[in-house]
Amino acid sequence: MNPDLSVRIGNLVLPNPVGVASGTFGYGSEYESLMDVDALGALYTKAVTPEPRPGNEVPRIVETPSGMLNSIGLANPGLEAFVRDKLPELRRRRCPVLVNVAGASEDDYLRVLERLEPEDGISGYEINVSCPNVSHGGLAFGTDPALVERLTARLKRSLRSARPLIVKLSPNVTDIAEIARAAESGGADAVSCINTLVGMVIDVDRRRPRLARGTGGLSGPAIRPVGVACAFRVSRAVAIPVVGIGGILEARDALEYLLAGARAVQVGTGNFRDPGTAARVLEGIRDWMVRNGASRMEDIPGMLDA
């Protein structure tokens, strides 16, 4: 039996459930010589904002127990440079490319989407309302259900895009299921979770935070139990697909998300440890499906005995 690994999100069919997470894979070419980028289930780009952003002061990263903090700060060349310099190579990819979009206002998000909509080579959008590393927008949007619903509805309505719109959720909230329902009511085609948790590390010798910006976003295996719990709750709260993210290094980690209810996953920090992670995870999911008699991705969530 050869399981069907494809996953449908809105009108889009992903060839397989294992994508790479925004901000951890650049625009794909960085990993070109290390793995088969075209074989990915999906490539989520670094966040694109209307204007170029240099990013935060350095240091921007610090390792933590089984995790890391980053405060990159949505560094990106901006919308126009993205279209000019990055999109041509992304367009040549044979894997679905989803553009992660960020902004400081509703208009910002809309501006990015409107500019990208006529461009080829983009399979979908992931709306980042959950970045903890910027002062305006980002996380602020993601913690208020009314704002999430309004933003999602506005983007869907104005754009009338055939491309799916995925809203990326923050774990830094009291009730992530409520935010997910807001995204769904607004018309989101899927939600992805989780973005990073707010964290801080202090250098006790130098008596200052390790990150120039003080706090950063915690990712990696340390947060996997939090991500799985979020995916579990969110997938019971909404009918749209859930994309599970957080601390995936191995196939069994991804399967935790899939059994919890996610339809697909993204590998983030895992890419840093081993660029072959996504491929290895996919292989392991396939093996598990064969062993456990799952023929399609949609079978997996129902196999949890909870």
């Binding site: 951890t24 990013g55 990263i61 127990p65 340390a222 440890r273």
Partner: protein, 266 residues
Amino acid sequence: MRRFDTPVLENRELSRDYRRIEVEWPGDAGTPAPGAFLTVGVSGTTDPLLRRPFAFSGYDPREGRAAFIFQIRGPATRLLSERRPGTVLDVLGPLGSGFPDPAPGSLPVLVGGGIGLGPLVFAAREFRLRAAAGGWEAPVLVLGFRTADQVPALDLPEGSVLCTDDGSAGFRGTAVEAAERAAAGGRYGPDAPPVFYACGPAPMMAALDRRAASLGASYWAAVEQWMACGVGACLGCAVRLKDGSFARACAEGPVFDGTSIDWGAM
């Protein structure tokens, strides 16, 4: 650039503080250059989580061996120090830009401090080998340490200068002072201007930056910055340039024109 598991050939203590690991380096994995680096996956568990970067300290293409020198600083380097020959190491490289060749006629002065010594030992050997062909002067290698018991047991090229903060070995004083003296001792002048190559702790780099500026000398710096991916994807390893922009230490660097870097922001 490739990721591969490769046998450890040697793991040797060089001094109280430094060790050297040599691994098999297959010819088709790319050519390690002085200034370039590799990253190492150190643990089968999730702590330490990230790969660790180390600059090449040598490469022998005929024998298929590459080496790096490291200092035990924290959990990853402690684990590395326990790796026995015969076990395999998870390696990714070569990564980053190497040191550019010295201009013909110039005197390369190589200044290393702390964990910066590996790439400069490597560069000294390379520049020496190719000095005649390249038309530059035989390089001078200057290495600085705190105390004598830090000084590594290494075959250094003839004419190398050792210095210690306390004078317990070699020249007493900083590597930058010694480097300036070495540059002046060379055929310093219009036909053999010095060019510095440097890698070391922030205070050393800042001192060199000031000295190079006052000498009007150019210099190449291999910087260290916290890295997550090592391949240019995460933007974690940003280095602030004097023009206000950021460059990635792992991709545009780790070797930069030293005068372009905003050392105050490091």
